[in-house]
């Protein structure tokens, strides 16, 4: 299965897909020393985003979140790739300064997404972006 999107940060990434039906708060919601989601009540609570292809609607919360993505990237704990349903400033700036391949404007159904746990390959170039799911 191939999912197309709009390019944000160019690059290639492969890894296990981690899908969140809910927005993610990077500042306060993700532990910068482990890459673990620590927001109570979040559907992905206690899951690790490091090395995953993170597929989520968009981020919420403080714009310090961009620096959290940078911190994770510099510790090798960032997602391998980011796919968002709609663009938001915190994630875009964080992905650029953390050099994390990213695409956005993905048209997928939030509820019926059997992506979790599957392998994904993300390729983002200036001309286009897609995620292949195996």
């Amino acid at each position: 299965m191939r999912i197309n999107g709009k390019p944000v940060v160019e690059g290639k990434a492969s890894g296990e897909i981690l899908f969140s039906p809910e927005p993610i708060t990077f500042f306060g919601g993700v532990d910068p020393s482990s890459g673990k989601i620590v927001e109570r009540g979040h559907p992905l609570y206690s899951q690790i985003i490091a090395g995953k292809i993170l597929v989520f609607p968009h981020s919420k919360g403080s714009t310090v979140g961009s620096y959290i993505l940078l911190r994770l990237a510099r510790k090798g704990l960032a997602p391998a790739g980011i796919v968002s349903l709609r663009p938001d400033e915190v994630t875009i700036v964080g992905a650029i300064i953390g050099k994390i391949p990213m695409m956005t404007y993905v048209d997928i159904n939030r509820d019926a997404l059997p992506l979790n746990g599957k392998r994904g390959f993300l390729e983002v170039s200036s001309s286009g972006a897609y995620l292949d799911v195996f």
């Binding site: 620096y67 911190r71 875009i92 650029i96």
Partner: protein, 396 residues
């Protein structure tokens, strides 16, 4: 997106790596949000400078940008950080954290920022109607757009930093006329008298922000706030805490002309205001914290004069303000402490670790501070300043 020749050179690295990274970020934001081109900005205000938030990685990122030649191409100011840079020892800050915070500020200085460390740049900077800005810090964004009629999106700290380096922002969002038109009316007419009789501007702001969400509202019933900087600050800061909007058009106050009053209308009555007050109705115990947003000079004067006449306050009062204002009270520190007043600059009750040097229970007049402190687990009483001064501060 259209880029002029200079902008293309910036992107291609002719002005160095830092400018290129900054331009790449700004252009990408513009492309994703369908801006036709960039717009030159007059001033930038950058948040996200506290070491406690951005950590070692944020610190090294800023030092790298400065070393790579990143320089602000427009006047740039900075938001408060986690400590008073002079009284940090009294706030439970370790020398290690203080040193790291110092390195962040030195990186900002190398890049050319004015180290103002206040969330109220609109009280000090030369900002005018129609000016394009790149501001972060929601209360400042709301004040600049709604009261001055300047134009800025509600940028995040890292984006405002990049825009300050390239001197440009994507021409999108609140930079454009079509996005500054109100789409919703919030009508306080039936509760106007109740609000003004009881000084409920913070409470009204929390409600207005929640109703507005990310939309631009037209607010009716608060025209008497025209020229009342103190209460406009409190109202807008509260809007920014509970809502995502960067512009509120207030009838009789905002300088922008509104041609069509939105027909979608939400009325706010006294019952809604009372319900909101109940959320922050602790027992009224604890220390008094004032200055979210930072107090202006006249506000500090008024508070200090009040207790100068009435005598020592019965509870500790913490005032948060800019270093420019605090400096004027430097030699009066002893006198203030005799009145039970303690003044801090460069930080505030929300971004510093108040529990470490103050209390877990607070009384404040700020809806924004009440919103964030209660979400951090503090016991908060939200009380108008006039009542704090006339009743709470003078009783046991």
């Amino acid at each position: 997106m259209y880029l002029d020749k200079i902008e293309e050179k910036m992107l291609d690295g002719e002005f160095g790596e830092a400018v290129s990274l900054a331009m790449k970020t700004v252009v990408k934001m513009g492309e994703v949000f369908s801006a036709e081109r960039l717009v030159k900005i007059k001033h930038a205000h950058v948040s996200g400078i506290s070491y406690e938030n951005i950590g070692d990685e944020g610190l090294s990122f800023l030092e790298e940008i400065a070393s790579l030649g990143g320089r602000f191409s427009v006047p740039t100011t900075v938001n408060p950080g986690a400590m008073d840079t002079e009284k940090w020892r009294e706030m439970g800050i370790t020398p290690e954290v203080f040193e790291k915070q110092g390195r962040i500020l030195r990186a900002f200085m190398r890049m050319g920022a004015k180290i103002t460390l206040t969330c109220t740049p609109y009280l000090y900077e030369q900002i005018g109607f129609g000016d394009h800005l790149a501001w972060s810090e929601s209360n400042a964004v709301l004040y600049a757009n709604s009261i001055i009629g300047a134009r800025t999106n509600r940028d995040g700290g890292p984006l405002a930093l990049m825009e300050a380096i390239v001197g440009r922002a994507p021409l999108s969002g609140l930079h454009l006329d079509e996005n500054r038109r109100p789409t919703l009316t919030i009508d306080f007419s039936i509760s106007e008298q109740f609000i003004f009789d009881n000084y409920l501007f913070s409470v009204a702001g929390l409600i207005a922000g929640r109703i507005a969400g990310n939309r631009v509202p037209y607010v009716i019933g608060l025209r008497r706030l025209n020229g009342d900087v103190e209460n406009l600050k409190l109202f807008l800061a509260a809007v920014g805490a509970s809502g995502g909007t960067g512009l509120v058009l207030i009838e009789g106050v905002s300088p922008e002309k509104v041609d069509d009053i939105p027909s979608e209308r939400v009325e706010v009555d006294a019952r809604m205001l009372k319900e909101e007050m109940e959320k922050f109705n602790e027992d009224g115990e604890g220390i008094i914290v004032l200055g979210c947003p930072h107090l202006g000079l006249d506000e500090v004067q008024e508070i200090v004069e009040w207790f100068g006449k009435r005598g020592r306050a019965k509870r500790k009062i913490y005032l948060y303000t800019s270093r420019d204002v605090a400096r004027m009270y430097e030699d009066k520190r002893k006198k203030l402490e005799e009145l039970n007043i303690y003044m801090f600059a460069d930080t505030c009750m929300v971004v510093s670790n108040l529990f470490a040097y103050g209390s877990r229970s607070v009384i404040t007049d700020s809806g924004k501070a009440a919103f964030y402190l209660s979400s951090k687990g503090y016991n908060v009483s939200l009380v108008p300043r006039k009542i704090i001064l006339e009743r709470i501060a003078v009783s046991d």
